[in-house]
Structure formats: C-alpha cells, structure tokens
C-alpha cells in the first residue's frame, strides 16, 4: 500500500515535470533551440498566482487564468526581444542568450519579491481521497495535477493534429523553409509555440507550488532542469515523449527518495538519464531519422 502511495506521488510530481517538459520539447521542435529560461517562467507563474490569489484574494481558478495570461505575454516578449534577433545565429549564441534570460528573470524576481520564501497557499481545495480503509491517502493536489496533465496532453495532441495552426507547427518543425513555401508564417508559428509553452508553465507553477508550498526566485530552476532532462529522456521534439519522460522521471525520483536515499535521489535521476542516452541516444520516443531522398 505504501508503494502505491509513493507511485501516485511520483506520477503527480511527474505530471508537473511533463507539463514543463512540453514547453521545452515544443520550442525545441519548432525553433530548434533550448529555452533555458523556461523554468523561470514557471517561477513567474507561481508568483503571479500568489499575487492574484493571496494578495488580491481572487478565486484560485481566476488567478491561474490571469497568471497564464501574464506568462503568455512574458513568453512572447522573451521570444521577440531575445531570441528572434538571433534567428540564424549559431546555436551556441542562442543557448547563452537563453541562460542570460534565465538569470535576468531570477534576479528581477529577487529585486521585486526579495529572497524571503513566500509560503504558497494551495490552489486545490479538495479533500484527500481515502482508499482501502484509510490506508491509502491521495491528496487533492495529486488528483488535480494528474487530471490537469491528462487534459493538457489530450488537448495539445488534438490541437497539433487536428487544427490548421497545429499542422503548421508540424510543418515548421520538419522543414522551416518548405513550410514558408507553403505560406506558413514561421515567426508567427514560433511565437505561438512560446505562448503555449509559457501558458503551460504558469499552470505548472501553480501546481508545483501547491504540492511544494515554498516560493522563491529560484523555485523554477531545478524543476526546469529536471523537466529538460525529462524531455531529452522521452526524446526531445516529441510531445508524447515529453509526457512519458516527465512521468517516468517523477516516479524514479519519488521511489528513489522513498527506498534508496533522499539525498541521492537527484543523482539517481541524472544517472538514469545518462544510461538511457547511452543505450538510446534519441531518447525513448525520439524520432528515428529515416528519410528517402
């Protein structure tokens, strides 16, 4: 029973990683860049929810929607100001810029909100579920997080495969030039990708801070890096891969915390990544490049 409880916690943590990893993997797939500032957008999302919900007393759901709006704008601004001028620049320049944006956001947050942790109030107001005569307790946060993750996954798959803009995203991720020749606005598509990723980051921030209720300017950086690992683990550029990678990572992390060592859990997580990449360099669901010319 203990094991099932750990497993559910792992899936819940993994769901947060998965939602963050989607942002990484979509941006990588479309713009072929690693947006290391993505983790810090989560942090901004967390603070926004905190301001709207705790300071202004708005309902949780309204606060999250407002935080999503703020993060969407933030994502678009980052893309337009920092990354767009570097389109066509060497990828190393883009990578360094992304790291710069990440530190910029962290330090701005430090300036605005200070270094004292804020204790976050959960956005979930739901009784824990007690199963098996009270032996298995599932928190409301876990249920909501897993539920949101499923909704996001289904919604995003439908968007990508069923809509015109989603099809344009697939085209851009495969061949930017050819997509342009079809009349796809590549810059617009990249901007849309950043917007979606950043809105999801706000959701992830709210869920993350509800389960681990301490909000700091560095709150987003570790989950951001782990979600990046999850995206690589699942196969970067692949949407189902990010989901699978995120959830597996959450489970591995929680189980190693429970059964092996709390301190070593991160080391174990990253070791698993190294092993997976040694065996399958493209990640679990990574695209095999087989093209007939």
């Amino acid at each position: 029973m203990q094991f099932i409880s750990y497993l559910i916690n792992g899936i819940s943590l993994g769901s947060v990683y998965a939602i963050i990893a989607l942002g990484y993997t979509m941006v990588y797939g479309i713009a072929k860049m690693l947006n290391f500032a993505h983790g810090d957008v989560i942090m901004v999302g967390g603070y926004m929810v905190f301001i709207f919900m705790v300071n202004l007393g708005l309902p949780a759901i309204v606060s999250i929607v407002l935080a999503m709006a703020v993060c969407t704008v933030l994502g678009i601004v980052i893309e337009t100001v920092a990354y767009r001028p570097l389109r066509g620049a060497p990828s190393l320049a883009v990578l360094i810029t992304a790291i710069g944006v990440s530190y910029l956001l962290q330090n701005l947050a430090l300036l605005i909100w200070g270094s004292t942790p804020k204790s976050f109030t959960s956005v979930v107001n739901m009784e824990p579920l007690r199963l098996a005569g009270g032996q298995l307790v599932i928190t409301g946060e876990s249920i909501v997080t897993i539920g949101v993750c499923i909704v996001v996954m289904v919604g995003l798959s439908l968007f990508i495969n069923r809509t015109r803009m989603g099809r344009a995203m697939l085209a851009v991720s495969e061949d930017k030039g050819a997509a342009q020749l079809m009349g796809v606005n590549v810059n617009g598509t990249i901007m849309l990708t950043f917007a979606i990723g950043s809105a999801l980051a706000a959701v992830a921030g709210a869920l993350l801070c509800s389960s681990y209720p301490m909000l700091l300017p560095t709150t987003g950086s570790m989950p951001g890096i782990k979600a990046f690992v999850a995206a690589v683990f699942g196969g970067i550029g692949s949407v189902p891969g990010a989901m699978l990678g995120g959830i597996l990572l959450g489970i591995i992390e929680t189980l190693s915390k429970a059964y092996i060592s709390t301190q070593l859990s991160d080391a174990i997580v990253f070791s698993v990544l190294i092993i997976v990449l040694l065996v399958k360099p493209t990640g679990i669901l990574g695209k095999k490049i087989s093209e007939k010319v």
């Binding site: 099809r167 495969e174 050819a178 342009q180 009349g183 007939k292 010319v293």
Partner: protein, 238 residues
C-alpha cells in the same frame, strides 16, 4: 503578352562571396521560361531570392506588377507565386494527404474549392491518389517529386517556380515529370524552370536564360539556344 515576373539587377551574397551579380530576366504570363546553367552558377540562389527564403543584397523583383523583394516568404505564396524546391522537401513524416493540405494552407476560398483541387491534383498525378494515406518519406523519388508539384499546385498558383525537378530521376520519370510540367502550363500556370538537364529544359521551354557564375551569359528563344554551338558544347554535350 503581360509581364508576370521581373527580376532586375538582382544581387545576392553569402558573406563575402557574391553568388548573384546583377541578374535580370523576366517571365511573361503563360510562358515556360528556363534558367539553365552548371552546378554553382546561382540558379537555386536566384529562386530562393525570388521566394524570399534569403534576403537579396540589391535589385528589384516584381510579381504581377507588385514589388515583392521586401515581402516575407509566406506573403509571396499568398500572391500566387509557389515554388517546388530543390530536393522536393516533402514533409516526410506526414502523409501524402497531409502534405497536400499544407499546400492549401493559404487558401481562404472554402472547403469545396479546395476539395475540387484535390481531385484536380489527383487527376493530374494519379499515383498520389493511390498513395494518399501513405507517409511521404516512404515514397519513391519520382513520387516525392510529384507530391512536391501537387503540393505547390494546391495553393492555386498563378506561377510555379520549379527547382531541378528532374534531379535523381530515371529518364522515363524525367519524361513523365516534364509532360506534367507542360500540362500544368497548358492549364494556365506560368512556369519558371531551373534545370541542369538543359536538353529537356530547352525542349519544353519557350525562352531560356543561361546563367554562368552569377550572371546571365546568354538568353533567347529556347529552340534557337538549343541549336547554338556554344550552348551545345557547354550544356548539351554535343
């Protein structure tokens, strides 16, 4: 005849290298014009500059009287100037049908009109119909070329830029592709054809330009050029 595409004093450079040095030519409505030349003469660069996949350094490009050299690539497609790029560049992980749908990306004239054009493309390229649910990456080279052409037709172009459609295809398929190009032209689409296969290109075209290291070396009636001794030795090998 009305002028459809005009390129004046086009210059394109890759860093310090001037790939195109003052190229001028024009294509009239209803024509097939070919741009022939050796590897590295600047044929593909010229087409990329017209579609604005790269930024020309200088020069003027007009399409149907509109200057387009400062427009973005996706806006140019909307005007009805489509390109079938070198190496086909079909979306390999998508199906034939999905590739064609992407071709119709800019269309706003309703589903019925688009559906009618699928039938038009399938009638012209029947092999695509058999394979419509197949993933494009698994098609043969000739089929991929047909898909690239069909995809470009789906945007209802006034003019088609074709970049090396014969590349890597067997002689029989090359013949088939050129017949298709002739058919498309007959249906009212103006064609600018870039080719290394000068013999086939001069056979199908009305007029031709010979591009040599970034500038136009010769131009004129395609049949006359095909009989020109210089062209014969340099490009036709006879």
């Amino acid at each position: 005849m009305e002028e459809m595409l005009s390129v004046k004093d086009l210059e394109v450079s890759y860093g310090a290298i001037n790939a195109i040095r003052g190229v001028s030519f024009h294509v009239d409505q209803g024509e097939i014009v070919t741009l022939i030349g050796a590897n590295g003469a600047g044929k593909t660069t010229t087409l990329h500059a017209i579609s604005h996949l790269l930024n020309p350094k200088a020069g003027e490009i007009t399409f149907c009287g509109k200057p387009i050299q400062h427009m973005e690539a996706h806006q140019i497609v909307k005007l009805g100037l489509a390109q079938v790029p070198e190496g086909r560049r079909v979306f390999a992980s998508l199906t034939v049908q999905q590739n064609l749908e992407l071709g119709a990306f800019t269309r706003t004239d309703g589903n019925d009109a688009i559906a009618a054009d699928y039938e038009m493309v399938f009638a012209r390229l029947p092999r695509l119909k058999e394979r419509r649910r197949q993933v494009a990456g698994t098609l043969s080279g000739g089929e991929q070329q047909m898909l690239a052409i069909g995809r470009a037709l789906m945007c209802k172009p006034k003019m088609l830029l074709l970049d090396e459609p014969s590349m890597g295809l067997s002689p029989l398929l090359v013949q088939e592709i050129f017949n298709i190009i002739r058919d498309i032209n007959k249906s009212g689409v103006t064609v600018l054809l870039v080719e290394q296969n000068a013999k086939m290109a001069l056979e199908v075209a009305n007029r031709a330009y010979v591009l040599e290291t970034g500038s136009i070396a010769m131009s004129g009636d395609a049949h006359e050029l095909a009989n020109d001794p210089k062209v014969r030795t340099a490009y036709l090998g006879t």
